[in-house]
Symmetry: C2
Subunit: 193 residues, 2 copies
DNA sequence: GATGAAAAATAAAGTAGTTTAAGAAATTAT
DNA sequence: ATAATTTCTTAAACTACTTTATTTTTCATC
């Protein structure tokens, strides 16, 4: 099991002794998702929060016209899952699938609750993870309200320079909230400068 | 100091003894903001997270044309603040002001850190608060991506039925990401049904 | 209760982004 | 390598929403 990334990330925020690390590790299960494979489908109950070792996942909804809308990307060193479905054990409203072959470490709800109880430091760790996620989302909401599609695209490639090379452009469009056709047009316009 | 609301909210998630409640209380300061008064201005450093006892605050940005974009409303029983500015002690990118006379209880960064240290149960409380906030924001992001302005407006009045009566329509428009003129048009269209 | 200021309504003209459709390019599978 | 599928590009017609300007209504304050 490849634990380096997640343990490094944890070590940035809380201090654990070897026993606690081993205990945490014992609560995780590993999963591999092939490209285009699913981590979670809308309507299913989200059994796990997943930490990403490698690859790229996207969380999205599908509207009544069949169009996909990407709420978030998750890449190495980050976590994902339908948190509402996970916490309430109700059907998920988002689907999560893989844009690349992806390897995750998962923790179930029961095990996460045990972990909070047995190693309270993890309350702190997840509190900090959630703070970061909250801030990132708040900035994203502001982006969608205050900026044009062109500005949002420029901000995207600036903020996630590596990601644009790794995923199809239509996924970037689905994240920006525009059509692939319009993104193509924007790129053409921006290239001629 | 009116503590009912916040203490009730805390009691839903963690158990505190009287001593801990008193200690928590001792770390809070009360503040009253008149309607149109400011809790925080863009560029200032956010010194406090605020729990709302009564009233209504809005967190917004102002674009280069002077247009306001509302990232969130905060009403009774909720909290607000520019979390990024608060955590990093760097200039805020959002402004927070009052749409009604508002009463808040505030905690400073130093006191919150003390609180986490002295009463670890608060790690859990804030973790849960952040989970709820994260979920609400994720749903909001999905709304703005997947729905038209009309659908978003209908969802808004359904989800916050009381709020529409309390605040000017132009603030609802700034939250939905449309102009007040277009919201007015939508309302006229919807009324004639 | 009058007065001034802010908010809401209306309408016409304009634009950012969508839709549709068809072909070219790139990627994946055989 | 070739075929099949998916992705990207281009362009014209279209629409959801904006902009600008004017009028009416509501609200706060003296």
């Amino acid at each position: 099991m490849k634990l380096d990334l997640i343990l490094q990330n944890i070590a940035k925020h809380i201090q654990l002794d070897e026993k606690e690390i081993d205990y945490f590790t014992s609560l995780l299960t590993q999963k591999t998702i092939k490209r285009k494979g699913f981590l979670l489908k809308e309507g299913e109950i989200c059994g796990y929060e997943s930490f990403i070792n490698s690859g790229c996942l996207r969380t999205y909804s599908i509207d009544n016209k069949g169009v996909e809308h990407i709420v978030m990307f998750a890449v190495e060193d980050w976590w994902t899952g339908d948190l509402y479905s996970f916490l309430t054990q109700t059907p998920a409203s988002f689907t999560i699938d893989a844009l690349e072959d992806t390897e995750v470490l998962q923790i179930s709800k029961a095990n996460l609750e045990k972990l909070y109880y047995d190693v309270p430091g993890f309350e702190r760790f997840f509190r900090i993870m959630l703070q970061n996620a909250f801030i990132a989302q708040q900035q994203r909401i502001n982006q969608t309200l205050a900026f044009t599609a062109e500005e949002r695209y420029l901000h995207f490639i600036h903020k996630f320079p590596q990601l644009e090379q790794r995923i199809p452009q239509k996924q970037v469009a689905a994240y920006l909230g525009i059509t692939p056709e319009f993104l193509s047009m924007l790129r053409k316009k921006l290239a001629g400068r």
